[in-house]
Amino acid sequence: MTRKLQVPLVTAEVDGQRVQVPEASTLLEAIRAAGKDVPTLCYHPVLEPIGACRICVVEVEGSRTLVPACIRRVEAGMRVRTDTPRVQLSRRMVVELLQGSVDTSLAPDVRRYAAEYGARPERWEPFAQEGPRAKHAPKVDNDLYVRDLDRCILCYRCVRACGEEVQNSFAIAVAGRGLAARIDPGFDLPLPDSACVFCGNCVAVCPTEALVPKTQFEMRRAGTWEEGRQQVVTTICPYCGVGCKLNLHVQDNRIVKVTAPLEDPITRGFLCVKGRFGWTYVHAGTAADPGGGAEPSTPPGNL
């Protein structure tokens, strides 16, 4: 089983440094192989790249435009520059455009890049119009996760996770066009009437809390969400026999969120509804039951 295929290598140059990577590697992979990095937003390590957010752009010698590193394949002899003023301008602008169009306050990556590239979204404010940036209330149409589309940067990660790459539910897609494009289950259906199976795998890949577990959403509102005080304990899901690893996020002896470790080859970070949301019973009947029960059929509470 350890038979290794001989993959031909290609040589490219990253910021003047020669690097050898397997054929069909992306520029991002080559850049990382060279010990460098570029910022990414729509890129996610377990999803296919789509090159939509354009923050990972780099200069490639001979190319008229900048090139998205996440999706472009390395070619032999390519000379790549990852941090020129031209590149920095694009990255700063992408961050400014995002910050000016949605609420990125809970998007740690965007905030980090904003600081790194010196984004000044306020310089667009004198020109801002009300209409196209109208705010929408968070959509709370079920008790497991919330859609706060004002935070959505349209990275398509959720759509990819819901679609053929992972979950194959195809419950959400991009609807509308241009600035009005948004993630929608179709015909503006509430999620429970859609094809959604509430695996929360979209939530797992969302980089901005546009999709967020309801527990987290409510604790944030109440001001009690304190990531710094949370411990993460890895265990195994209590339901079926697949053996998914769960990361239990625990605050004050309570589970506040469940995720799955990306590096686990069984889940790759993806779970089903029971694994991600079906944990509330361990707190049933105790004070501040976070999930509560829908007419529990069993007397709640440990004895």
């Binding site: 296919e48 789509i50 090159g51 939509a52 957010c53 354009r54 923050i55 752009v57 435009t65 900048l66 998205p68 999706i71 472009r72 031209r86 301008l89 694009s90 602008m93 992408v94 455009l97 995002l98 000016g100 169009s101 310089r123 667009w124 004198p126 020109f127 801002a128 119009q129 209409g131 196209p132 109208a134 929408h136 940067i153 349209l154 053929e164 790459e165 194959n168 539910s169 195809f170 419950a171 959400i172 897609a173 991009v174 609807a175 509308g176 066009r177 241009g178 600035l179 009005a180 494009a181 948004r182 929608d184 289950p185 179709g186 015909f187 503006d188 259906l189 009437d193 859609s194 094809a195």
Partner: protein, 627 residues
């Protein structure tokens, strides 16, 4: 995206079992789309999605949830994706909408002809325009289960919306109403019509529109316009009598490789805007493994551009023959012709011409007795400028949202249905039959060193004879504007000429002596683009024009990448503010626009975003220096 989706795979369609059936009229419309395909054969035919959406849109005036659910069941598609596609297009409605919609063109050229007065008339008669969610209002109340209108009371019978350029610039103001395009509209005529419709009548017979001025000048002309207006467009006899199908015969005599060589020798470059050598494109596609496709891009949507419409309406066989030769050369068995939804007349003419071509053995099995079999399918767009971008066009045909794809890979390797594809513009393909018939060397003698042959130029705006003109490359722009189109009427002076449509650049009056050629315009920092020249006289408020262009791009951005999705909005906001402020551009604002422009050019996925700042930036050359 990984492997091609399986047939109807993974869609848990039982979820749709309890959605009510579509209305009988919706059902009948869908049956016509399915045609002879049995239920098993429909599943997985995602490429039938757009035709199916069109069918129910026309049957009811909007796409109801039950109708969409029926499409999902038949094609095996998830509702979210069907909605994602339906809501992408301006001509498709996912909310109840009046059956008769007036899509009034208020784009740059019709604007010059008084479109705003017509908009006021419609506003007075019909109230606010109905804009699709794609254009602003992101969330509407949408009725679902029952498929009935969600609002209070019955739907009005007539509604209206503002439309981007309808490609009728030489004879506007134009409005698209169902399968008709109303032309040369005046506020009075429009009011009379609308009142008739509101009373339930059909209104007046369409007035005969002003004829499209056609003209030519210089060596080799008329080549593309030789038949236009001189033949019955759908008459194969007429077409053949004037040299039709000689090109295909010659191609079949010399074989596919030699055909490609002939086109390469002609120096023909693409007429859609990108100016890529056509022969090389074919050669690249031909060396990839089959099946291969050829596609004709007839999604002409660049504001100010109407040449493809004229060719399709007046000489459809020339395009059909060109595409057939392309199919022969590339080794394709199937060609697609994608025509924009706003060209109902072109669509009708094409369908008929294709039928005649098939009946005469120019399409179908074993064409002209050879072992080459080839047929052409026509697909209709539904209101999206971005579909003119070739990879977006592929996605549109395939039934996906028309988001452009990242490249590489290029269409010649991974194109339509992920297969090697040669895609060419209408005018490009119309050049092919004469090249084959008369030889590539003959063609290469026309034009300039780097721009071979003749070019169709759409002249509109403030000229005496707006129309379509053919000249060999190298003729000064002034010749086209003044000699052929008659110059600015009323003795007024030219303020600027927008060259290449909304994605183009403003030329100053002193630049009009530039020869019309790819290389000369490039030297000016401009581009020929689609071959549109919109002339603005000295009285025009150019800021209004620039703002309309900025709005056009904001409305037409697919929304996929950040620089274009948000950048077009920011650009519009700044331009609007500048116009309101009387046009003063201080250096800081100028830098802001320039930075944004650079990022949109550098980092957008496709040409739409990359070209969106062109007109704005070039207008600063004219306007920025004013006090």
């Amino acid at each position: 995206m990984s492997a091609a989706p399986l047939r109807g795979w993974g869609v848990e369609l039982q979820r749709l079992e309890h959605v009510p059936p579509p209305t009988p009229e919706e059902q009948q419309a869908l049956e016509r789309v399915w045609g002879h395909l049995g239920p098993e054969e429909r599943v997985g035919r995602r490429d039938l999605l757009l035709p199916a959406l069109w069918a129910v849109q026309e049957a009811r005036g909007w796409i109801s949830y039950p109708a969409a659910a029926a499409i999902c069941r038949e094609l095996g598609l998830p509702p979210a994706e069907v909605y994602g596609v339906a809501s992408f297009y301006a001509l498709l409605a996912t909310e109840p909408r009046p059956r008769r919609m007036i899509h009034l063109c208020d784009d740059i050229v019709c604007m010059l002809r008084g479109a705003e007065a017509l908009a006021q008339t419609l506003h007075r008669l019909l109230g606010d325009p109905i804009q699709e969610p794609a254009h602003g209002q992101a969330y509407g109340g949408i009725s679902r289960a029952d498929g009935a209108a969600s609002g209070e009371g019955p739907l009005p019978s007539v509604g209206w919306s503002r439309s981007p350029c309808l490609g009728q610039c030489e004879r506007g103001v134009a409005a698209l109403v169902g399968e008709r395009v109303l032309l040369g509209l005046s506020p009075e005529a429009l009011e009379e019509r609308v009142r008739a419709w509101l009373r339930g009548g059909e209104g007046l017979a369409d007035a005969t529109p002003a004829p499209t001025h056609l003209g030519w000048k210089g060596e080799g002309t008329p080549l593309l316009l030789a038949r236009c207006g001189r033949i019955v467009p759908t008459s194969l006899e007429d077409y053949r009598a004037l040299g039709g199908y000689e090109g295909l015969k010659r191609a079949m005599t010399i074989g596919p490789e030699a055909t490609i060589q002939e086109v390469e020798r002609s120096g023909l470059i693409g007429r859609g805007g990108a100016a890529f050598p056509t022969g090389r494109k074919w050669a690249l596609a031909a060396r990839e493994p089959p099946p291969r496709y050829v596609v004709c891009n007839a999604d002409e949507s660049e504001p100010g551009t109407f040449k493809d419409r004229v060719l399709l309406e007046k000489d459809p066989f020339s395009v059909i023959e060109g595409l057939t030769i392309a199919g022969y050369a590339v080794g394709a068995e199937r060609g697609y012709l994608y025509i924009r939804g706003e060209y109902p007349e072109g669509y009708r003419v094409l369908l008929q011409a294709l039928e005649f071509a098939r009946a005469a053995g120019y399409l179908g099995k074993r064409i002209l007795g050879t072992d080459f079999s080839f047929d052409i399918e026509v697909r209709r767009g539904a209101g999206a400028y971005v579909c003119g971008e070739e990879t977006a066009l592929f996605n549109s045909i395939e039934g996906f949202r028309a988001d452009p794809r990242n490249r590489p890979p290029f269409p010649t390797q991974v194109g339509l249905f992920r297969r090697p594809t040669a895609i060419n513009n209408v005018e490009t393909l119309a050049c092919v039959p004469p090249i084959l018939a008369r030889g590539g060397d003959w063609y290469a003698r026309l034009g300039t060193e780097r721009s071979k042959g003749t070019k169709l130029v759409c002249v509109s705006g403030h000229v005496a004879r707006p129309g379509l003109y053919e000249v060999p490359f190298g003729v000064p722009i002034r010749t086209v504007v003044e000699d052929l189109a008659g110059g600015v009427p009323g003795g007024r002076r030219v303020q600027a000429v927008l060259c290449g449509g909304a994605a183009g650049t403003f030329l100053l009056p002193e630049e009009l002596d530039t020869p019309l050629a790819v290389e000369t315009l490039q030297a000016l920092g401009a581009a020929l683009g689609s071959g549109a020249l919109v002339v603005f006289d000295e009285r025009t408020d150019l800021w209004t024009v620039v703002e309309r262009i900025a709005r056009f791009f904001r409305d037409e951005s697919c929304g996929q990448c950040v620089p274009c999705r948000v950048g077009t909005q920011r650009q519009l906001e700044v331009v609007a503010e500048l116009r309101r402020g009387g046009g003063r551009v201080d250096p800081e604002v100028r830098r802001l626009l320039e930075e944004l422009a650079q990022v949109m050019r550098d980092a957008s996925i496709c040409g739409l975003g990359q070209l969106a700042p062109n007109a704005v930036l070039s207008s600063l050359r004219l306007l920025g220096k004013r006090p």
